[in-house]
């Protein structure tokens, strides 16, 4: 039962029963706006909008959202710094407009990440995967991805339990032990995954599986109001973003 905080938030979100297509439109629009609008004020507005929507109407716990936004931050900061350091004849120095350039890069990336996170914390993976079907992704691929989603939690639980059992017997008491234990851990989880797949396929055959993993589709109807508000909001954002720049 090892959970992933973002996934837990998605299942508990107030927007869980909204149509995934609606939420995809909103988050997708914000992601694109974050990418194409000038950083000031566009990205900043996008970032704000994503945070306000997530913590407000979608009622995502602030702790979860905050922690998740922090995750890509190390990469973003190191990447942005590296981008604006200049390699010249006299060694390293700052690029001419380093501060502005780095600021822009960070703003784009943080706003984009927040917009993706708005989707991630309001829409469980299992709602998004059927949407791929509409993007002409073959059913077989969608089904593989759905099984991946379900199996992931089973394997994550095995992973943490086995690791705990190893730690109890001092398997992670030193770096050397820890490497040896990690190899065994990975092997154990891999064999477990094969075993699981085999047993699940037996179990499903018994339930009449013939060609695919067909189930009753869940109906999450689109809300015209939500779509209209989204479009209006995005339009306003783009206008302000372009005019303000």
């Amino acid at each position: 039962m090892t959970g992933l905080a973002i996934d837990d938030a998605a299942w508990a979100s107030a927007w869980r029963l909204r149509s995934p297509a609606d939420k995809l439109l909103l988050s997708g629009g914000l992601v694109l706006a974050a990418l194409v609008l000038p950083a000031w004020p566009g990205s900043v507005l996008v970032g704000l909008a994503a945070v306000v929507l997530a913590l407000g109407p979608a009622r995502v716990p602030a702790r979860t959202f905050g922690r998740a936004v922090r995750l890509p931050l190390a990469f973003i900061l190191i990447g942005a710094l590296t981008a604006v350091v200049q390699v010249g004849d006299g060694g390293l120095g700052w690029a001419p407009d380093a501060a502005a350039q780095a600021g822009g890069l960070v703003a784009h990336a943080v706003a984009g990440s927040a917009a993706v996170l708005l989707l991630a914390t309001t829409t469980p993976m299992s709602d998004l995967l059927p949407a791929l079907h509409r993007l002409r992704v073959p059913d077989a691929v969608v089904e593989v991805a759905s099984v991946t989603y379900r199996m992931l939690f089973v394997l994550l639980t095995s992973l943490s339990t086995i690791r705990e059992a190893q730690a109890a017997r001092m398997g992670h008491a030193s770096i050397r032990n820890s490497y040896r234990s990690s190899g065994m851990l990975a092997a154990a989880v891999l064999t477990r995954s094969w075993d699981r797949a085999r047993r699940l396929s037996d179990g499903l055959a018994g339930r009449g599986m013939e060609t695919g993993l067909r189930v009753l589709p869940e109906v999450l109807p689109s809300s015209p109001r939500f779509v209209a508000t989204t479009l209006a909001g995005l339009a306003a954002l783009v206008t302000v973003g372009l005019v303000g720049a």
């Binding site: 339930r207 993993l213 189930v215 009753l216 869940e218």
Partner: protein, 281 residues
Amino acid sequence: MSHLTLAAEGLVAGYERGARVLDGASLTVPPGRRLALLGANGSGKTTLLRCLSGALPPTRGRITLDGAELHATRKGLRAHRQAVQLVLQDPDDQLFSASVAQDVSFGPVNLGLPEEEVRARVAEALELLAVAHLAGRPTHQLSYGERKRVAIAGAVAMRPCVLMLDEPTAGLDPTAVGEALAALTRLQEADSTIVMSTHDVDLALRWADEVAVVVDGGVVQGAPDVVLGDDALLARARLDRPWALSVGARLQALGLLPDGALPRDADALLAALPDRPGVRT
């Protein structure tokens, strides 16, 4: 639903590696009743259930449903699975979908039923197992006992005539065991046949109409108090004698219990015992 008689005759079955697990096992599942399947670890309970469900083709012998032999063709299996469903011991071997309701719908959808009918069956199955409130929760957030009940609901939604369960009560607390047994009894009263494997001899004695013990590759079948009172058989099958039979027999000998069938659990025993010394009720 009408009752169908599921039976196995002279089954020989095993796995690639190793010896035969079943070697001439025969069993008749009493239609409309509750059968408990007992046996030591590795005796072949799960193997027998898998043969009966059509999942494992036996090397010899036959499985019949109301006399008609099961042939391991696509069509034969399809028909068999509509009538006979097996719930595996580990719920994670049966639950593949992240959504509880969708998972339960898998079987009915595979039967090719219209959407309305599927929806009705899902609701009914969730209701019968008392897990309707979980419909919107993701499978991976459920506790073990909850997953176990959802897995049973998935089989129940197929409306099988014979529902078989591999150790449905393992790992459940006493109250949950009671609830699971009550759900199975409801199902049986709604016209199903129930087969359940278990290691708990006391539970088998108290719940089952009939018991079958898998031992030495064969099956010994009969009334619970007879089979579970046969010490030679119990020793071969690595089982214990249910306490109610031992204690009941002695109390009968002491004249404290009426002659005839012994009580099968503590409540029945207490009810049958006199309240005060020296008074026979």
